[in-house]
Structure formats: structure tokens, C-alpha cells
Amino acid sequence: MKLPHQKSADPATVRMLDAAAAAGLSVAWDRQEVMEPQCGFGQLGICCRVCTMGPCRIDPFGEGPSEGVCGATAEIIAARNLVRMIASGAAAHSDHGRDIAHTLLMASENEGCDYKVKDDAKLRALARELGVPGDGKDLRRIAHAVAEIAFAQFGQQHGKVVFTSRAPQDQRRRWERAGVTPRGVDREIVEIMHRTHIGVDNDPVNIILQGVRAALADGWGGSMIATELSDVLFRSPGWVRSRANLGILDPESVNIIVHGHEPTLSEMIVAAAQDKELLALARSKGAKGINLGGICCTANEILMRHGIPLAGNFLQQELAIVTGVVEAMVVDVQCIFPALGPLAKKFHTKFISTSPKAKFPFAEHIEFQESKALEIAKRIVRAAIENFPNRKTVPCVPKESQELVAGFTAENIFTMLGGRYRPSYRPLNDAIMSGRLRGVAAVVGCNNPKHCHDYGHLTMAKELLANDVLVAVTGCSAVADAKAGLLSPEAAETYAGKGLQEICRAVGAPPVLHMGSCVDISRILVVLSNMVAEGGLGESIADLPVAGAAPEWMSEKAVSIGFYVVASGVYTVLGEPLPVQGAPKLSEFLCGGIEELFGGKFAFEADPIKAARMMIDHIDAKRAALHLPEPMYEVPYAPRAGEELVAAAT
């Protein structure tokens, strides 16, 4: 059995795990332990449940069956299973985008709608990009036209998803050549389901290419629409200070936690929590006020736009309830444990589900409707306040919480570097070209109880920083770094190499840039495209000295993200291997052959230090190919000699 400190690198989590164990409660880590050993066929990806001639399993040792009843080999089965994960992941992100597009459409049609366009400038910029006359006075008409175009991306049958035109030309050509330019978001997902039906696509690489196509429709379609239209509706994020970790919960206030993904709900809860009448009600119940905190990506959304503190990441959702001071856990969609229902029953916490798409055992369902958004949000907040006097257990709130700075976007990131007067990507490109900055890395993704919670994210980020690699983070990885203080500008003094330190000092930025929720990885795609457009670092994203990683990933969304990032030209290291290792040729393709097509590839490495060094090797190889100098200052992990780098890169 693992000890608490082996389960998590976060002291608040360790404390709460002790508390949970003392109270005899089982949480995700415990359930994971009971699940051991987990089925090797599933881990290797060679179990097929596509039709009822099966289930079929391939014996990886070669003595039992080497093909399914239909004749599908391990390669075919693993490829089919994998792209079905992409379909689900892309569907999740894209349905989120669709909901936001729908909300914008509603806001544009109905003046009395609780949602309003809050970012005129972003709307006008988007309108220009989409070919809508963006200079008209009637903002609602522009919003309507933009929303219709965004909405149409989902059902589009031909042509290409509109935001793919943001990618560098070279990258778009690669997609054309491979035949994977996404046509419409829904179409690509449907085609995955068709192709993986019994007896349709049985060429592993051809199957994977459709997966790539759907993933691109996610990254450059669904996710990007979600990000862009959220900015229009709820305002583009700006730099904000806030705090992170379970210590933000206040035993003397009404604590409401929003958990899930879509900002349509959390934005309204934020508004309702500031309602004077409700604040007065809270005080009348003996509470100091209403304290809002977030978990998972919805937390990142309201942090970026309102500075609402982060209560924790994915694996802390149960622990938040265990503190005994959460009046309501309000959830919408994605990454919400069904275990929360039975757990909340043991405390006074109201577990409130809001989405018609996501109902949970033992949850109180207060259905959220965009047309009555504020009213329903107030109802939810009121329910939480009225629950304040019902606390059953002695509060057990860990003291840990850390300062952070968040709110970086593709648009504002370089106002920070270039100043308001001359916002430009030039300073970033120059820093990389001079060697002051070795490169840029994105560390993203979930938590997974198979890995020590947060350890992968933190260790990897620190190793990258020490080697003068600027780190961009989103999602649960961002929350992990926030809790460890890596998102504060002071972190540069402790963790960053000399070159990165100079930059952080000059502009006052933290060395790790929080770029939002998991759909906001689309922001990183835009940043990369802008870096290529700025010039000096090659012709395509594949030429840039950048790398990506998801050290603790677990969800199907992460698979979709991995694929659109790789297909956009980025070398990506995963802490948990994709479930394809029972298909050696397919693994080889994903970690090698796919690079010839798109310029990016996967690598699997569980050790975060090793993984970080693989990323740095890749960055160095790209620097060498661009004839850029060695890092300006001495770095702990020095660049390897030319031939070694080439060997490492191939």
C-alpha cells in the first residue's frame, strides 16, 4: 500500500488523505489500489468489444489467438480503440464549444439575455477574421453573424474548419498531403465511429489518420471555438492575482465549489455570489460571506477572468468535500467523479448537478438553462447558503494556499513582453534566437492516481525552468503548478535558469504561464502559429524549438489533445503510454513514422525528469537545425553534442 506522501506531492492533499483515511472514507487512490492488478489486455489496447462475435483478445505472447473472430489483428484492434478515444475526447471538447456558440447566439438574439458580449474588441477582431463586416455599430448583429459561423463549423460537411487557416501554411500543406484537413467537427467524429464499426477501416495507419482529422477538428475547431467565443462572451482574460489550494476554503463563510468545464454555468454562479441580497442572507445565517472556489477547468475559466481562487485539481475533488466546510459542490460536465454523490451524503454538502447531459447518483439536480441563467444560479447559491447551518463534521481545512498570477492568452502574452505600445511576439522570438531562452514547453493534462499526484507536473516544470525553457500550462497541470507557487513571479528566482530569470525580472512575469483550461490549449496553438509568423524560427510549428507533455494524463480528451498537438508539429511526451503497446507497429508509427507526415510525434516516459530531458533534447535538436547558438548561460542539463542530438531526435 502506498503511503500518503507517495500518493501526492501536494502537502494539502497528503493532509486530506490522512483525514479521509481516519474517517474511513475511500477516495480515488484507494479505489485504484483495489483495482490492481489492472487488466493487461486493456492496458495494451488489444481487447476488442466492437461486435458481439467477440469480445476478442489477442495474446501478446503469441500462444493464444493472434486475431479476432473477424480477423482483426492486434494492430487493427489497438488503432480502432485508440481513435474511438479520440472521438470521445473531441466530442467532449466540441460539445463544450457548441454550448458556448449556442449561448453567444442566444445573447445576440435576445437583448434581455443574462449573457452579454463583454469583449467588443475580440468580437470585432473575430468578425474581421471570419469575413463578417466587423466595424458596424450594431454589436448584436455582428455577434449573431459570428455565432452562426461558429455554430456552422460543427455541422459543416465540406470545405475546412475555419480556424485551421490560422495554422502556418507549411503545416496546412502537411495536412492536405495526408488528407486530414478537417471538414466539419461533427463529421470527423461520426466518421471515426463509422470506420471503427466491424468490417470497415482495417488499415491501422488509415484509421489513425481519421483520428488525427477528428483531433484537428477539436484543436483548431471545437476547442478553439470554445476559447474564442468564451472570450467574446465573458471577456478575454487579463493578468490576475489569486490563490490556489484547499486552504482557500474559509470555515466561517459559505463555501461553494464549482467543478466541471463550461464557463456558462460558473460565470453566472460568480455573478450570483456577488448578489447583495444573497450576501445579506449568508450573513443572516451567521456566515462571514460567500466564498467561491473552483476545481478542474471551470476553475481555470473563472480564475482567468475574475481571479476566483482555485480550490484544487482533478484528484482533489473528493478531498474538498472531506474538509466538511463545502456547502455546495456545483457541477456541470466532464471529469466529475460519480463517487462524489455517496461521499457528499456523508457530509452536509449538497452535490448539485446542473447539466441535462450529466446526472449523478445521490445528486440534487437543478437544471441549468441559459435562458434563465442568473435566476437559476441564484437558486443554486441560495441552496448553498441555506445549507450553511447544517454542517455535521468538525471542519478540517488544510492551511496551504499559494499566491499565483494567471490570465495569459495568445493576445495579451506579448503585450506583457512588448508593452502596450508595441505588443509583439518579437521579444519572445529574439530571446529564443539569442539563446537567452532555450525554448518553450507546454506541460498540460490531468491527474492520475497511478502516478504520484502533481509530482510529474511539478518535477517536469522545475527541470524545464532550470534549463531556461519557458513553460506554458493549462488545466490540472496549471493548478498543480499554482499550488506549488510556480505561477508567482518570485518563482523565477528560485527555479528558473539565468536566461529565463533575466526575462522574468525584466517583464515581471512568472516563469510558468497559466494559459487557461484544457480547451484553451487552442491558445497555445495560436501562440505557436504567431511565433512562426513573427519569423526567424522556421517555416512551420514543426521547426520551432518547442515541446509538449502530459505527465499525468488519464482522460480521452487528453488523447484528442495529444493528437492535434502532434499533428500540429509538436513533439509530445506522455507520462502514461497510449494504450497501443500491444500493437508494436502502431506504437512505432506514433513514436516515429507519424513525424514524417506532421513534424510531431509521441514519446512515452513515466519519469518526469527523463521526460523533461527528452523534451530539452528535442528543443536542442530544433535549435541546431535552425543554426541557433547554444544557450546563452550555463544550464544544468547541457546540450549534447551534434551527433548525439541527431540520434536522440531520430
Binding site: E36, P37, Q38, C39, G40, F41, G42, Q43, L44, R57, D59, P60, F61, E63, G64, P65
Partner: protein, 164 residues
């Protein structure tokens, strides 16, 4: 007697043996119905993770068998001819001495009497777990055959090392 042996290098931890064992000891013997039966069928096998390796554990019909030696009621017997360790349910008083002394944790306390691998008495041929194993990690062999297989593997491993 042919015993069920286990090759830890081939086990993928899929729990198929556990499942098949429970079904074999159900009333219906139907994998789709067994889990619905009033008294839930109990597997005599258990897949565990030991030091990063999957092990499927069931009665090994030891010789000498500690459970037989410990049984105060004389219910546990080792068949002199087949070597099989059986529990005479008429004699078993449920004192669970056998459960306590089993070095493999392969004997379970049932509701009334001891539950352990009974070598699938309703089957003529291959045992349920062996048949269910998709990687042949479980296989039937006599002690003699097993020794030979193990010896061969040792030699092969030695050769590989020599080649390196």
C-alpha cells in the same frame, strides 16, 4: 496428478480465471446469469499484484499440506492417489484453522465451510481457469512436466545471457 501451474511472465492480470472459476462454481454455470444468482458464486482464485508482478493464487494442493495438518475436524484430506487436497463439507466445523495456516492465502472462509480450489469436480477435462486463460499463463501439468518446463526455461535464459 495434473496440477494447475502458473507462468508469472505471461499473466496480464485480466481476472478471466477468477471470473471463470466463479461461473464454474455457480448453479447455472452460465457467465451471463451466474452473477444474478441468489447466493453469489465465489471464485477460488484471486489475482493479486505482488511486487509489480501479477500472480493468480489458488490452492496449490501442497505436499505436505499445512491445512490438512491443522484441521481439527479431519475434514481436510489429501488424496493419497491423486494428491488433491479436498475439504469434506460434512465434517468441516468452520474453525478456519486451514484459513490461518495457508501460506498462500488460498483458502477462504465460506458461510459454513471452507472454500478452496476443488479442481472443478464437475468437469472431465481442462479446469475452468486454465481454459479461460487467454495467454496460457495457467496450464495443467504433472509435477514432473512442470520441472522439465522450468528447467528448459532456465537453460534458455542462460543461453540468452551468454549471447549478450
Amino acid at each position: 496428478m495434473k496440477k494447475v501451474y502458473f507462468d508469472s511472465q505471461k499473466c496480464l492480470g485480466c481476472h478471466s480465471c477468477e471470473f471463470a472459476c466463479a461461473v464454474e462454481h455457480s448453479a447455472s454455470k452460465d457467465p451471463r446469469k451466474a452473477h444474478l444468482e441468489e447466493s453469489k458464486p465465489i471464485a477460488r482464485r484471486n489475482v493479486q499484484l505482488v511486487e509489480g508482478m501479477c500472480l493468480t493464487v489458488a490452492c496449490r494442493h501442497c505436499d505436505p499440506a499445512p491445512c490438512v495438518e491443522a484441521c481439527i475436524a479431519g475434514a481436510m484430506n489429501k488424496d493419497a492417489q491423486t494428491g488433491e487436497v479436498t475439504c469434506d463439507t460434512d465434517k468441516c466445523v468452520g474453525c478456519w484453522m486451514c484459513v490461518m495456516v495457508c501460506p498462500f492465502d488460498a483458502v477462504k472462509p465460506g458461510e459454513i465451510y471452507t472454500i478452496k480450489c476443488d479442481m472443478c469436480p464437475d468437469r472431465d477435462e481442462t479446469r475452468a481457469c486454465v481454459q479461460a486463460c487467454p495467454t496460457s499463463a495457467l496450464f495443467e501439468a504433472t509435477a514432473e512436466e512442470f520441472r522439465r518446463i522450468a528447467q528448459e526455461r532456465k537453460q534458455r535464459a542462460g543461453q540468452v545471457e551468454l549471447k549478450r
